[in-house]
Structure formats: structure tokens, C-alpha cells
Symmetry: C2
Subunit: 105 residues, 2 copies
């Protein structure tokens, strides 16, 4: 399993709504993520809007994203989420991948 | 297990050295972390110096840090790392904890 870390930024005035939606992520979206190799996936939010994502996958980030792109539910979810991000871009098109510099099992 | 996410910032002109040191974290320091309940611990670095930490623990972040504070090797490691962080503070004294807003197993 590869560990992936990425950064995004949520609009500061939409944090509460963003958080609320993430308490109720559509079951089909959760299933699509699992089928596409997104495991032990957590999103963490700073009160200034910085969002950090962590997940474990047998793939690379690019491959895990490519598998999600094939899912129709992902297109709907990303369009639903776009207004919560700067410039209203789909969040899955603006991931900044981070470099793993240390790991302890 | 609780999942913890935190942010730190490494000095921009010291990223390479910081990364190099983290390829060779002292075995006693790794052992101290394990004994203090820091599991599946990963550090991710952005090229601008933002550092994101993720680990899993039976404790809270505060408790896991308190257990590390009892370890003499931690004092030495934190002093060794302080010059790599803004204002030369010990990194373990400047963790910004993030809020978990989504999790998928």
C-alpha cells in the first residue's frame, strides 16, 4: 500500500456547509472510492480552510483518481463540491500531492 | 484508534536537510514513538515548507505528546529539530491539530 497525502483549500465562508456535507457523503460515492482503491481515507480541516487528505492505496494518486474518473457518481459529487473550493474548480482537479518524508509503522 | 492530523511549517531554506534527517530518525526515537502510541505515523512535506503529520493512536494528540515528553530522547530530538522550524521552536510545541471531517475505512 502506498500512502498519499494531498492539500486543498476550502472557501473560508463555506466551511460549515462543507463539513455538514461530509457527514453525509452519498453511499454510492463511498462505494466508488472503495472500489477504486481509496482505503483508510481521512479528510482533516483547518479553521482557515486548509484541507488535508490522507489515504492508502495499491495505486498511485494519479491512478486512484483515474479510476474514480470512470465513476459517474464521482462526476456528480465533484460538481456538487466545486462551489466550496476557490475558483469553483472540481476539487479532484486541484489536488496538490505532498511528498512522504517519514514513516513509522 | 483515533486518527490525528496536524500541521507544522519547516523553514524553506532548510527543507533538504530536514528531509535528510528524516531518512535517519534515531532508532531510540522511533522506539519511543511506538511505546507512546504513535502508530502508522507519516510526515508529508510540501515544497513550500508546509508539513503535514498523520498518525493513529489509542490516545488524544495531547496524551500522545505527554507520553513523549517523558522520554529523554524526545527532548534531544526536539532540540535537534528546532532550528528547522520558524522561530526555532521545538516542533512538538507548535503542532496545529486539524479537525477530522470525513473518514472512510
Amino acid at each position: 500500500m502506498k500512502r498519499v497525502g494531498f492539500l486543498l483549500r476550502v472557501k473560508h465562508d463555506k466551511l460549515d456547509e462543507y463539513k455538514e456535507h461530509h457527514k453525509h457523503v452519498w453511499p454510492e460515492m463511498q462505494e466508488a472510492l472503495r472500489e477504486s482503491g481509496w482505503h483508510n481515507y481521512t479528510l482533516f480541516l483547518h479553521e482557515d480552510g486548509r484541507l488535508f487528505g490522507y489515504f492508502e492505496t495499491p495505486h498511485s494518486l494519479a491512478q486512484a483518481q483515474a479510476l474514480m474518473e470512470e465513476k459517474e457518481v464521482n462526476t456528480r459529487w465533484q460538481q456538487f463540491m466545486a462551489p466550496y473550493f476557490e475558483e469553483n474548480v472540481r476539487p479532484d482537479e486541484s489536488f496538490i500531492e505532498l511528498e512522504e518524508v517519514f514513516h513509522l509503522d
